[in-house]
């Protein structure tokens, strides 16, 4: 359910880290909560993003949500495929449904994120609150 090699935020984003490069997406729990995702608004490549800053817009049938960046840095790549096929986030949240790649300004920020088992416990608690 929650891949062990990823880090997770309380806003239900995941991060895959390779050196200073962080790939960001939303978790399977988050996409399930949103339901069918029908539109994605992506930021400009090359722009800067702050930690907790809005990274992308996610439109589902009943709500308009945002992806918040778990780290600060420069957006080096965005997943253009989502513009044509937003369902990739529903179908493959950790793979083809990635949202953006960020060159981190401060990899130290990763320390605030959860590992898979911590996140699983976090989600269980959220779910029990309804």
């Amino acid at each position: 359910m929650y891949p062990g090699d990823l880090k997770y935020s309380e806003k239900h984003e995941w991060v895959r880290v390779e050196g200073k490069i962080a790939t960001v997406g939303i978790t399977s729990f988050a996409q399930e909560q949103l339901g069918a995702i029908v539109g994605v608004g992506l930021p400009e490549e090359g722009s800067k993003v702050e930690k907790h800053g809005a990274l992308a817009d996610l439109d589902s049938m009943k709500t308009a949500d945002q992806v918040f960046s778990p780290v600060s840095g420069k957006i080096v790549k965005v997943n253009r495929a989502l513009e044509e096929r937003p369902e990739l986030i529903n179908d493959d949240p950790y793979g083809e449904g990635w949202v953006a790649v960020i060159e981190m300004a401060d990899p130290g920020e990763l320390a605030d994120l959860m590992n898979a088992s911590e996140y699983e416990a976090f989600v269980a608690e959220e779910a029990s609150k309804g």
Binding site: V38, G39, G41, D57, D59, S60, M61, K62, T63, A64
Partner: protein, 446 residues
Amino acid sequence: MNYVPHTDRDRSEMLAEIGVANLAELFSDIPSDVRLGHELRLPAPMSEYDLARHMGALASKNRTTDDLVSFLGAGAYDHFVPSVVRHLVSRSEFYTAYTPYQAEISQGMLQAIFEYQTLMCELTAMDVSNASLYDGATAVAEAATMACRQTRRQQVVISAAVHPEYRTTLKTYARNLGIDVVEAGMKDGATDLEELGRLASSATACVILQNPNFLGSVESMEVAAEVAHRNGALFVACVDPISLGILAPPGEYGADIAVGEGQGLGSPMSFGGPYLGFLTCRQELIRNMPGRVAGETHDPQGRRGYILTLQAREQHIRRERATSNICSNEALSALAAAVYLSWLGKDGMREVADLCLQKAHYAFDRVAAIPGFRPVSETPFFKEFAVRMPVAPEQAGAALLESRILGGLPLGRYYPDLGDAMLIAVTEKRTKEEIDSLCRALEGLA
């Protein structure tokens, strides 16, 4: 009169079912200190017959463009509305419906909106259309805020030749959003393109021109579009849809957003409303487009149907981050436009525009030949032109009324340097005879 079907017996039985003794009990949660202690001070109720007579009497206090020959335009036009339009928009299945939230039971209106969108895309040569906005003025304001969101810039450059009320409306909207509105002046009845070039910059979200402009002149839209794009700004074209039977559409000169007033497409003038704001744009901009939009889809059996879509842009879903606060729009006016444009068809669209063009030019030549009268500009025009006259335009208007002519708009109120000018509109409805009688009446003033 109250249109309530209940008998007293119905009411008492219903109250019993609810479990209360009387109607007042149902209002017991309204604190006594805010309850109205008296009856509203309103005129006494009327029977339907008395009401109809009263309304007729009020209506007869107005002089109408049916009993006057109108040369008044300036954003509301006396175009011919064919009978089919009134009959079809009077189908009460259409006009007594709400917004088509439940698609399967609202296919008629949804398909009509989809057809309207297609017609407006064709007419403006743009990719997508929304389902309508309030009017031309708010469409300009919505286009400006749309451009600001799209470009993340907060300055709008607009030509002073855009309808004065559209500019005022834009400024009202913009002021509250911290958007800076800059005006480029006029030269010989059209936008001063050099000034436009100086004002537009990398801070500009969009450049807005009207074509034909408020004085009727045809603008160099392609040049203005180039000014906008050179600065990374969007180009917004505010156009008269009737003119598009002949004039180049926004899509042919590089506009990013086309807006305008669609009243001429089958809606009566009705003292200023309801009209039809339209907005079409390039495909890339749809996420920032305001207002409703209908889309094609299918049911489980593969049957084609229509539905309101891309709703995540709208207020009921995106709330404070919505692309606009608009909810109710002008769907019935959009339906009227769809019927009107389908009535005209490809040839009729060109013909109605050509009739306006021909008759307006005949009028122009005749009026300009009257001693003491001279056109404000030599710029090409479509169906409306401004002319300076030897008497005060207001006074001329009063004199024209004696010949049962509703004269054009005196321009001094909007452009102080045009205090001696009148804006004359000529639609396809005006006959040679009527134009000649206008000229005779004007000759008498010279």
